[in-house]
């Protein structure tokens, strides 16, 4: 029984696993491509873009429990078009949805995955009011009428051993990456639309096998959609979102390819002013690996951005934050030390 | 001592009557001796022979064959004795009907685990069976069948040969020829022979004669 092969087939309709990590480097016949200079508009672009092949609502939160311990959660809804042109209705709707939820504690890591299709109401995204859901997992807007729907969100997810219910309040504006939200991913021009809301204050409850834990903390929401975000030879990425002491935030990523890495990111000032980083200005240096799920995973990094005087070490709160889902990857909270202090999230894909 | 019987007794119970077949039999035989056992029909000759062969058990007394005590031996020991030390020649020829003459000749030696093709060939020649080796018992005359039975016994080199009217089923001329041959071969082999016969003429040809009458030896 190879359910994994099926689900990959669902998410990657052209069965092109060789095409970059998770097929994100596939060709794009029939799908819309991101264009530089296109202005994003809200709340419209909070919703789904079915004419693009792939899209996600990706939220990570660094939390501190009433017990004083560090926690992290992830909530992601992926949308994948099975065929261009958004054909079919009901069961035949060619939009597949996948939810991932993760909960990391200093002692362990929980994860869950859901699949569904869009035409029946099992999963989807609406803009007015804003809601994104798959099964009972939900991300709902709780913002006051007239304000940005992302200004306040409710968030729930559950698995067989864990659940969480959180309230998120944005303390700053939306942040557009790259060129007004047009984020370049390779030297050959692969790109996506990419914006974030990195300023959430979080309160809520985690349900763990030992009982509920009240938590507070900070969260970061990423929104990204594209039809071919990666170049065909890019095998994976290392991505960080860092909440630095003092209110600055850094989003940076390294896309790994055979003929050289592509690194870039965004420096976000406490008032939300975003400065795109020139490709290559930020460096990623793996310091130590651990063996997770049969692979060598670098959970200890040195990240340097000389133009901002940043030279930090980041370390995983929990080495085993492995998302053993259909498309498997590492995603977990990290602590920051060195030139700057703070905490954030690290995502690593394509380590086979 | 090849064969020794001391005060051997045997009785059969038939209905409510008990028939004492043998009482207080004493007999001793040395290697190389040939002894004729004579007596009336029903005098217990065959019973005595069966006791010596371990085919039946005595009720009293003691029987030893080649130094082995048969009185208290179990079935397996008796079977081993018959295989190793004793050779039997019956009035009925008791060949194995589904085996060829050659296979019958070699049979007891093989059971004993001492098959000697050279000896079989020599015996077959002496017994006049050389041309009949591939026949089956049913294709032989009575004299030929008894010669096969004698050959089978001798091939296994027993110390003691027990024969029960070996020529009883044969006409006189054939019987004499078979007996001559048997005595000659027994002498060559240096074995002892105890032969039951009701014929004084045949008994006279053996080295010694004992007579069974009224359940006692005379």
């Amino acid at each position: 029984m190879n359910a994994r092969a099926l689900i990959l087939a669902i998410l990657l309709p052209l069965s092109a696993q060789a095409q970059g990590f998770a097929g994100l480097g596939q060709t794009t016949d029939g799908y819309t491509l991101p264009r530089r200079g296109e202005n994003l508009a809200f709340p419209r672009d909070h919703g789904a873009h079915p004419e693009f092949r792939i899209e996600w609502w990706y939220l990570t939160a660094n939390l501190t429990g009433a017990d004083g311990r560090d926690y992290g959660i992830q909530w992601t809804l992926f949308r994948s078009a099975l065929a261009p042109g958004n054909p079919g209705e009901g069961w035949q709707t060619a939009q597949a949805w996948m939810g991932h939820a993760g909960l990391t504690t200093p002692g362990g890591h929980f994860h869950a995955e859901r699949l569904g299709r869009g035409g029946t109401g099992q999963a989807g995204v609406t803009t007015d009011p804003f809601a994104a859901w798959i099964d009972e997992w939900r991300m709902d807007s709780r913002a006051a009428p007239g304000s940005d729907p992302y200004a306040a969100l409710g968030l729930t997810a559950s698995g067989t051993e864990f659940a969480y219910a959180l309230t998120l309040d944005a303390q700053g504006p939306l942040v557009l990456h790259g060129d007004r939200g047009y984020s370049v991913k390779s030297d050959r021009g692969n790109a996506s639309y990419y914006y974030s809301q990195p300023f959430y204050r979080v309160t809520g409850t985690l349900t763990l096998p030992d009982g509920p834990v009240e938590v507070t903390g900070e969260a970061w929401l990423d929104r990204e959609w594209s039809s071919q975000p990666l170049a065909a030879d890019q095998q994976g990425w290392d991505w960080v979102s860092l909440h630095l002491a003092g209110g600055d935030k850094l989003m940076a990523f390294r896309l790994r390819a055979e003929d050289g890495d592509y690194t870039t990111g965004t420096w976000i000032a406490p008032d939300g002013t975003a400065t795109p980083l020139a490709p290559g200005s930020v460096t990623f240096e793996p310091r130590a690996t651990v063996r997770v799920a049969g692979r060598e995973i670098p959970v200890h990094w040195r990240i340097a951005l000389p133009e901002r005087g940043l030279d930090v070490i980041i370390e995983a709160v929990q080495d085993a934050a492995w998302m053993d889902t259909t498309v498997a990857y590492w995603e977990g909270p990290v602590t920051i030390s060195g030139s700057h202090q703070g905490r954030g999230y690290l995502e690593m894909t394509g380590y086979d | 001592m090849l064969l020794s019987l001391q005060s051997v007794g045997k009785a059969y119970v038939s209905g409510s009557t008990r028939v004492e077949v043998l009482r207080g039999i004493d007999l001793a035989m040395n290697a190389g001796e040939t002894v004729a056992l004579t007596g009336e029909s029903g005098s217990g000759k065959s019973t005595l022979l069966h006791l010596c062969a371990g085919l039946d058990r005595a009720e009293s007394g003691r029987i030893e064959v080649a130094g082995r005590d048969l009185t208290r031996a179990d079935d397996a020991t008796l079977a081993a004795l018959r295989r190793d030390a004793v050779g039997l020649v019956f009035q009925q020829f008791n060949l194995i009907p589904s085996l060829s003459v050659a296979a019958n000749l070699a049979f007891q030696a093989r059971l004993k685990g001492s098959d000697d093709p050279g000896r079989i060939a020599t015996l077959a020649g002496r017994l006049g069976l050389a041309d009949l080796m591939h026949r089956y018992p049913e294709q032989l005359s009575g004299g030929q069948q008894q010669r096969v039975a004698i050959g089978r016994t001798l091939a296994a080199r027993p110390a003691l040969i027990l024969a029960d009217e070996p020529t009883g089923n044969l006409d006189e001329a054939t019987g004499d020829a078979v007996l001559d041959l048997m005595l000659e071969l027994v002498a060559e082999a240096g074995a002892g022979l105890l032969m039951v016969t009701h014929s004084p003429r045949l008994a006279a040809r053996l080295s010694r004669r004992v007579h069974l009458s009224g359940g006692r030896l005379a």
Partner: protein
């Protein structure tokens, strides 16, 4: 020593090849019939299991509507959004133009881990699978059968899917079965997330059901397979009689050899051990031959079995047979056990035999009054068991215990009864030759009795089963006439077309009767619920077994329900008892009707009553009453004027033909097994006579010497065999009739739920008697011919040898 002795023992078979052949053939035939039946059963079981395993239904709990009807798919979405990990399944039958297939619609996105059929999960064509026209996976034979069928999705052959089944996406399946927006069941994933809303709040009216460990069809067909097994066992028992007699004979014949071997110094323990090894070797060889033959038999019978199961139960079997260890190992084991049982007595006797006991094999053939008395006592004991099973036994197992005890008892009583009859004849005979003939026949009985018992079993089984089948055929044909009074049956393609069809037909025909039905749980099992119109078609024809006087009027007034015989018997209902319908309504029982060939319970209520309770039911099928002469024109008009495809209508005669065909095929297997059993019994006679003939020379030679020619002796031998066969046949008739009665009144009721009136067919017995005489005559022919041609010298030799 062991090897020398074993080769001497085995040399017996080289000199008696026919005896060896009869032993091997007997055991091989017995094993063949048994393992053939088991092979069929195993194949069926595997098919049922595979059907039950679709989507892991044999492992997973499910949710379904309490009334057994489909539920709206919104319930699925509501449950998912309330935190219940459920996966929808829509199930139904697709039929078109005489081709029919079970359709499973699944949702690959939500199917629990490991529950997806591999062909689906391994296929990369997910877009093709979920979007029109869809992609359906089926067994290669199913796909081949459906080749060219219109309206189905693209078909893909895949191994590992049960035959007769198509697996496709739920959306495609809903459209195919016109069940848009509906699901049949929801499968529950084994691990559920935390914090779910209670089920009653999200979806009231759903029932949680345990995993289906066996498919419905496995339960429905259970009695059919038990029937087959019983027949296989009967054949095996007949075969064992042969083996027993062949082994017994071989032991008796070798008694001089055993004595010689022991005199030459082979210990008894070794001798018995070697003989046991010999029996095992023979059993192994025969078992392997038997398994090969069994495979051939099963492969030959499988198409009929498959057709029966499909026609009667809608269960589809794989058309090809695989070598499954559960039956070929079982076949080998039963060959070994059978040979062991057959040899045990002989080995035991040898173990107890004094070394100097007489070595003549005559004992085997010696008449033994004491032996017959023992058999008769055993027969009486078994007869008591049979009576007890008949009075107190319940269900199909009780029925088979009764059958088994009855047959064995009759078989065991046979030699004694024959001996008595022959002794009587001997006393009546005045002249010398007849007197000798009767005495000699009686003396031969022990040697022949096992073969005659086998013949007796075969004959009674033949009479019993033949009577049952013929009784069933008469009843069934009459019943079909009552049950199918309408001249034409039509099915519209859509509900909308059905409405137009009703309006179009109404003015042209005498009556238009709806054939509308739902399925749902009634008294704990899935049943069909039909609605009938208030029309004299039913009051005139319907095959009622018992009924209130105003039964049809009460149905029309929604004041009652009638049920079929099987439901009535199963639940022990009486008129007036409440019949709870799916969905909660209760109607009093006002009648019971016979419903042959239907494995399920059935309820009939008024059509208005049905529609009121199940407003969403399928209303596309109708029966038409009209002048039979007008049927042809009406069909033409329906096709040409109305535009209904010809495939969507079927006339009365065609339905009857199909039903009768199903019926005939149901019993084709039984008939084939019957013939094979007869063959085995005939073979037993033959080998017994053959071996007896070689041992009988000492008895025949004096008669020959007294002036009877060899030809006359041979004639007498032939007559003797036929006489014994005829006597056996005479005794088999009453046994067969009792057997038929048990089959009709006990086994059928337990297995199928209906009881049939018994009809007797003496002409068939005559035919069977001829067959039995032929079997006896044929079996005796060669031995008799050999006797007629025997060299006088051989007879003379008897006197020379005899001492």
């Amino acid at each position: 020593m062991r090897r020398t002795a074993l080769s001497a023992l085995l040399s017996h078979w080289r000199r008696h090849p026919l005896q060896l052949a009869s032993l091997l053939m007997g055991l091989a035939l017995a094993t063949a019939l048994w393992s053939g039946v088991q092979a069929i059963n195993a194949e069926a079981r595997a098919s049922y299991d595979r059907a039950a395993q679709v989507l892991g239904q044999d492992q997973l709990e499910s949710l379904a509507a309490a009334d057994g009807q489909r539920l709206p798919q919104e319930v699925f979405v509501a449950l998912r959004r309330a935190g219940w990990l459920v996966s929808p399944l829509v199930e139904g039958r697709w039929s078109h133009a005489g081709r029919s297939v079970q359709v499973y619609g699944i949702d690959p996105f939500t199917a629990p881990a490991g529950a997806l059929p591999p062909p689906v999960s391994e296929s990369g064509e997910i877009t093709d699978f979920i979007t029109s026209p869809g992609l359906a996976f089926g067994a290669p034979e199913t796909v081949a059968e459906l080749d060219g069928a219109e309206g189905l999705p693209r078909l893909a052959a895949a191994e590992g899917i049960a035959p007769g089944m198509l697996i496709m996406d739920i959306g495609i399946a809903q459209a195919l079965m016109r069940a848009e927006g509906q699901v049949s069941r929801l499968l529950l994933a084994p691990d559920q997330p935390l914090g779910r809303t209670p089920l009653e709040q999200v979806a009231p009216g759903l029932e949680r059901r345990a995993p289906q460990e066996t498919a419905d069809v496995a339960e429905l067909t259970g009695s059919f397979h038990l029937n087959l097994t019983a027949f296989g066992f009967l054949s095996f028992a007949v075969g064992l009689f042969i083996v027993h007699s062949a082994i017994g004979l071989a032991f008796e014949q070798r008694r001089p050899m055993f004595r010689t071997l022991r005199a030459l110094g082979l210990p008894l323990r070794t001798l018995v051990g070697l003989l046991a090894v010999e029996v095992m070797l023979l059993a192994l060889v025969a078992g392997l031959i038997g398994i090969g033959l069994g495979y051939v038999i099963a492969a030959a019978l499988l198409p009929d079995v498959a057709a029966t199961l499909r026609g009667l139960y809608g269960a589809t079997l794989s058309g090809s047979l695989s070598l499954r260890p559960e039956w070929w190992l079982g076949g080998l084991a039963i060959a070994l056990v059978g040979a062991g049982v057959a040899a045990a007595q002989s080995l035991w006797r040898l173990w107890r035999l004094p070394l100097l006991a007489p070595a003549q094999p005559r004992a085997w053939a010696m008449a033994s009054a004491r032996g017959f008395a023992g058999l008769a006592a055993l027969a009486a004991g078994l007869a008591v068991v049979a009576v007890i099973a008949g009075v107190y036994g319940r269900g199909i197992v009780g029925g088979f215990v009764l059958l088994g005890a009855l047959l064995l008892s009759a078989a065991l009583a046979l030699p004694g009864a024959l001996a008595l009859a022959l002794a009587g004849a001997e006393r009546l005979a005045r002249r010398a030759l007849p007197q000798w003939f009767w005495a000699d026949t009686r003396q031969q009985l022990p040697g022949l009795s096992l073969a005659l018992m086998a013949l007796m079993l075969a004959l009674s089984a033949n009479i019993g089963v033949g009577t049952m089948v013929a009784s069933f055929r008469i009843t069934f044909t009459k019943w079909l006439d009552q049950r199918l009074p309408s001249e034409l049956y039509v099915t519209a393609r859509t509900e909308e077309e059905a409405t137009r069809l009703r309006a179009w037909l109404e003015p042209q025909v005498d009556a238009l009767l709806p054939i509308w039905r739902v399925e749902g749980p009634v008294l704990g099992q899935t049943a069909e619920i039909y609605g009938v119109a208030d029309h004299r078609t039913y009051s005139d024809n319907w095959p009622m077994l018992l009924a209130d006087p105003d039964v049809w009027a009460r149905l029309a007034r929604a004041e009652g329900a009638i049920v079929n015989e099987q439901l009535w018997r199963r639940e022990g209902l009486s008129l007036g008892d409440p019949v709870p319908l799916p969905g909660g309504a209760v109607r009093p029982l006002v009648g019971v009707y016979s419903d042959y060939g239907n494995p399920r319970g059935q309820v009939i209520i008024g059509v208005a009553d049905l529609v009121a309770q199940f407003p969403d039911l399928d209303r596309r099928r109708h029966a038409i009453r009209t002048d039979p002469a007008a049927v042809a024109d009406l069909r033409t008009a329906l096709v040409q004027d109305f535009g209904l495809p010809a495939d969507n209508m079927i006339d009365q005669q065609a339905v009857k033909d199909i039903s009768l065909k199903v019926f005939e095929r149901t019993f084709a297997v039984t008939a084939a097994l019957n013939v094979l059993t007869m063959g085995v019994a005939g073979f037993a006679m033959f080998t017994s006579l053959l071996t007896l003939s070689s041992m009988r020379l000492p008895q025949l030679a004096p008669v020959w010497a007294l002036g009877l020619t060899r030809a006359a002796l041979a004639r007498l031998e032939l007559i003797r065999a036929m006489l014994l066969a005829a006597l056996t046949m005479m005794l088999a008739v009453p046994v067969g009739l009792i057997l038929a009665w048990v089959l009709l009144a006990v086994v059928n009721v337990a297995a199928f739920g209906w009881r049939l009136p018994m009809h007797v067919f003496p002409a068939d017995w005559l035919w069977l008697a001829v067959l039995a005489l032929a079997a006896g005559g044929l079996a005796a022919a060669w031995p008799a011919w050999r006797l007629a041609r025997i060299e006088p010298a051989t007879l003379v030799k008897v006197f020379a040898d005899e001492r």
